[in-house]
Symmetry: C2
Subunit: 414 residues, 2 copies
């Protein structure tokens, strides 16, 4: 499949961004021939000195061996350097004890080639599941990856982790902290049935700032909840979802000791990188032709607002209506009603774009369908819902559900 699909019409204009060097991190990619022909499928990101790694991993009860291994290693002291090894083409999921052994062998080979302790080596695999991972192809490639890794190799890493993504995903922000410039750069691959055989979202974010593990982990969790955990393509949860954030400290700036406004600026920059990457994942949703923002307000709580937002964003009824450019607000009402959150049909208001469609549980006075219909013709759709109950807020993002999605998932198998 990879490379055969046309680039998503929602891909960012201008292609892959220019990502700055993140001091202390080197990247390499290689074509190890795991599954795809003629493209890189293994990447190494390496920090030779002590660094901090935070992360958020899938909640799936059938998670992959690599996810279990990463979960166990997070929170270590990071001394002696960090390595991240990712392959595409095979997810090493539902492979039993053989899968655990594969992760072990990859970590050992990486430790041998790089001198980094195995406890600081994080792996991920993405692609077909249930097939044994030919880890010998990865372990054989590690020395070469280690030898060729360079600070400007991040785009090659972004390409190596793609499966059926139609474009590589990168994002960056720079911010001034303590009189110095701190850089943040991240890469991701797509989620939610992007791959014909298994959904997988992988994201790696790097900064040359110094941040302690406890703080970086807290920020990563908080920001993932507002970005990667607020997107949905089709409501299916991967066995392999992994987000890691590495802080090398090599810009010689300690974020936590900076003035409050600079800490805030760093946090905003880190969040923007994560949000941008998560939106790019939605923009590469299978068959997507519309990028959809669902903004919920007036809920009894933020958690209720999130429930309503995800109920709308996951509804096949809503998503097919958007694909059909139909301002079908009745389906939004239905999705609010089934969400489980507190709701009162007679206090509900709904906007499509800037057009108030429904108010106080009825069609809005003076509503003209042509106004909403105009908005639906664009490729950036906004649905706003006010529950009229309280102060709870949430925004989630999704894409439409098209026949191309069915074709990709029903008619093909990689």
């Amino acid at each position: 499949m990879a490379g055969k699909l046309p680039v998503s019409p929602l891909a960012p204009k201008g292609g892959f961004p220019d990502l700055p060097v993140i001091k202390g991190v080197r990247f390499a990619a290689v074509a190890a021939g795991i599954k795809y022909k003629d493209r890189a499928d293994v990447m190494l990101a390496i920090c030779d000195d002590t660094a901090t790694v935070a992360g958020v991993l899938t909640k799936s009860k059938t998670c992959s061996a690599a996810v279990s291994d990463c979960r166990a290693k997070l929170g270590g002291d990071g001394s002696g350097g960090i390595a991240i090894v990712v392959n595409s083409g095979n997810a090493n999921a539902f492979t039993g004890i053989a899968g655990v052994d594969s992760v072990h062998r990859i970590c050992e080979a990486t430790a041998t080639a790089t001198g980094i302790p195995t406890n600081n080596i994080y792996t991920a695999s993405t692609g077909v599941i249930g097939e044994p991972l030919p880890d010998d192809k990865i372990t054989e490639a590690i020395s070469k990856l280690s030898a060729t890794a360079s600070e400007d190799g991040i785009e090659s890493a972004a390409r190596a982790i793609m499966t059926t993504d139609t474009f590589p995903k990168g994002s960056t922000r720079s911010v001034s902290v303590g009189g110095r410039t701190v850089n943040i750069a991240g890469i991701a691959k797509g989620s939610g049935m992007i791959a014909p055989d298994m959904a997988t979202m992988l994201a790696y974010v790097f900064t040359d700032a110094r941040v302690s593990f406890d703080t970086l982990q807290a920020w990563t969790k908080e920001m993932a909840d507002l970005s990667f955990n607020r997107i949905t393509v089709d409501s299916d949860t991967s066995t392999s979802d992994t987000l890691l954030v590495m802080a090398t400290g090599r810009a010689d700036v300690d974020v936590e000791s900076a003035p409050e406004d600079e800490i805030a600026a760093f946090r905003v920059a880190l969040f923007e990188v994560m949000l941008d990457l998560s939106h790019q994942v939605v923009r590469d949703g299978e068959g997507a032709t519309k990028f959809v923002t669902v903004a919920v307000q007036g809920a009894e709580s933020d958690e209720d607002a999130r429930k309503v937002g995800l109920s709308i964003a996951n509804s096949p009824l809503v998503k097919t209506a958007i694909a059909g450019e139909d301002a079908n607000w009745g389906r939004v009402v239905m999705a609010v009603g089934k969400s489980g959150a507190a709701a009162d049909r007679d206090r509900l208001s709904i906007w499509f774009g800037a057009t108030l469609v429904a108010k106080a549980g009825q069609i809005a006075p003076g509503y003209v369908e042509a106004d909403a219909a105009d908005h639906m013709k664009g490729d950036e759709i906004t649905l706003k819902v006010d529950l009229g109950l309280g102060e709870g807020l949430a925004t989630v993002w999704t894409c439409d559900l098209t026949a191309q999605y069915i074709a990709i998932n029903a008619d093909y198998r990689s």
Copy 2:
């Protein structure tokens, strides 16, 4: 839309069943011109004497005015007769106070025409939402309906409540209780995006046995949980879902005083009617080409088994694979993992039809994909999952997800 879609390939062979007369209940249908041309769109079911009505209604927080009205009336003593009035073509949902007034006027007109107390008059509306219900067309038709209602009119009622259903749905069982024959007959219309504008499942079951309200309500709830609440077409919940079960007592048999084995036989018969109707709803799922049974065992609890079953049955990933006749067990693993139920990937076994595909968290020894692939080519698919943890069991039913489903919901609007 109605009538334009071809009859579902999964429709029961032999067409609408011969339903027996249920002593005490008369039916009528009429073309009131609410929306559709040249077809009946209002039905009346009437029991002139005291009877028992039990029911289960949608949990949607944005439920229709008719649902709220039915909920308030259930549990009344049923003296003076019972009437059920249902229209298709307009759901009278999200219509504010006007919708409440419509329900009130329909009940008043029915009371006037039939002499039945308004407290015993149950209504439902199904079709487009957000548009005012032209209830004058219904109230004008009531006298005629009341005058023409006959004991053999149930098929016309089944046809009048259709929206985009491709076939009318009926089911019956007879059972001997207390030396007499007791009949049960039910009708239903489709759920889950069957209608382009709103999902609606309506089902009405009638028996001439006598059952007290408390018992009939308990049985109805218990049986709905194992039938109508175990089916899913697309995970969307209607604002109008209504199941009513009426016991007229006119067969002069008191079920609760019968011997235990006869009570059991009656319960089985009632459940089979409800299960058959719920399966017919799935068989008429939009775009469906496969009827899918998902049987889960070995869960920690029945509730966990139900969660896993619905997670599999609602997964677009699983449903598109079935549409593509792909024995893609990896997607089943994914759906187990995301269900929220206790699961251990290394104890999981999966069957496609009779073929053991995966065992103990890995592909089963000796598994030959061709065996499972053969099963996937049929139009009755069974997925069995054993979680290997406990004694919890559940079976749920769904259909596949096809491009036709997208076409119906994205490209058309009624």
